[in-house]
Subunit: 213 residues, 2 copies
DNA sequence: AACTCATGGATAGCGACACTATCTACTTTG
DNA sequence: CAAAGTAGATAGTGTCGCTATCCATGAGTT
């Protein structure tokens, strides 16, 4: 398969494929001459993964590179490769130790995690992001704390078991990691869309009740 | 309150405030002279809302403007103002009728919505987005369909009732709309972060089981 | 009254990002 | 042998959310 066919099959323009190759996201094809190379099925799969991470996960190129490096490194455990994505999904805090506005919330979140026996990396960006979001909620006079999300957390945990086990059951490592990435990135978008539809539907119902009581 | 104080209180730079004013996101202050104007508390609240929509909701400026126009238009019902945000959150499809790749999924999603008695706008972008996400999931050989998300939908619906009712109970319209926007945008981010933490925790557990059986 | 300084308003520029276009040298294919 | 495709390199593009600079004006300060 030459580059033009790879482009046609994957739906990614030749120029973009060249760009990804240049950026180290896509391995080069096997050179058959100075100006000829052939690409295989794994290039198609890799392109799909790249597009999913960029389009659905909205990861910047640099983070996609980091994630794929973890995927490709055979000595990385499944869990660590997965951790690389988790780190990449939340924008890294600009390392501002003077910003202590969320400190109290960070403590609360950590206690909550401990209570649930959720062991995550102590410096997982999701912890800080979560704390900052809770601060934002407070700013808008919502009387909410992390414990109001216990039910959602229960369901998330329960669902996570199925997803992770499904991915880990795969025979080859590359598929397992890719499956986990997709599971994280795509399914969370699905859940968000469902929630939005639920809100719209409920809003419509309550609006209708007011208009035709 | 002058612009510099508004900047200090809100944490938004004077240049950015000028920018938002120029873009029609923030109403100008009351002019006390050719080169002087005073700002009030509602400017601070408006700035918080703008920042939340941009930073947390990641809405482009143009969509923020559309949302705020709906908020400001007193003749818009609460539900319609809310609909404006829903429309803005999902990137508008580039109006490509030749792209029929997701048609079957769109039908499936609509049937699912009907079964749940979720009445949403027929052209709600979330429907198309959801369909496209399901197509993406298929591409990665997941055997999943929309019905696999019934449990999540149940919880979303249940939670939505509380949120929407809470917002609608507010005395003034502006607060009610703002509350609904924040509820949509911020809380969904919280749920995403919780899900990510759940996945990481579960992944760690299953990894540990393999290493120390 | 003189001086400093903030403000409104306008215009131009910036930095990040994800490509995209163009060019050259070469090789394959018809 | 010519047309078309390819690798590799370099430069350019378009969008986005600001940010910087400038100017004229007028407010507060001395």
């Amino acid at each position: 398969m030459q580059i033009s066919e790879l482009s046609a099959v994957s739906g990614v323009s030749v120029a973009s494929i060249k760009f990804y190759r240049r950026e180290g996201l896509l391995p080069p094809g096997i050179a058959t001459a100075t100006n000829r190379a052939t690409y295989a099925d794994h290039h198609v799969r890799r392109l799909r993964l790249i597009r999913a991470l960029i389009e659905v996960g909205e990861l910047p190129i640099a983070n996609v590179r980091a994630v794929l490096a973890a995927v490709d490194n055979e000595s990385t455990t499944l869990h660590d490769a997965f951790g690389a994505v988790m780190h990449s999904l939340d924008p890294a805090p600009p390392a501002d130790p003077s910003d202590s506005t969320a400190d109290a919330e960070i403590i609360a979140v950590n206690e909550w995690l401990a209570r649930r026996a959720w062991q995550v990396e102590p410096h997982a960006p999701a912890i800080r992001t979560l704390a900052q979001l809770l601060v934002a909620i407070r700013q808008f006079d919502f009387a909410m704390s992390i414990t109001d999300f216990d039910e959602a957390a229960d369901l998330a945990e329960q669902t996570a078991y199925g997803e992770v086990a499904y991915a880990r059951a795969m025979t080859d490592r590359a598929s397992a990691v890719a499956t986990m990435l997709i599971g994280t990135v795509v399914i969370e978008r699905v859940l968000v869309e469902i929630r939005r539809l639920a809100l719209e539907a409920v809003s419509a119902r309550l609006e209708a009740e007011v208009r035709e009581p």
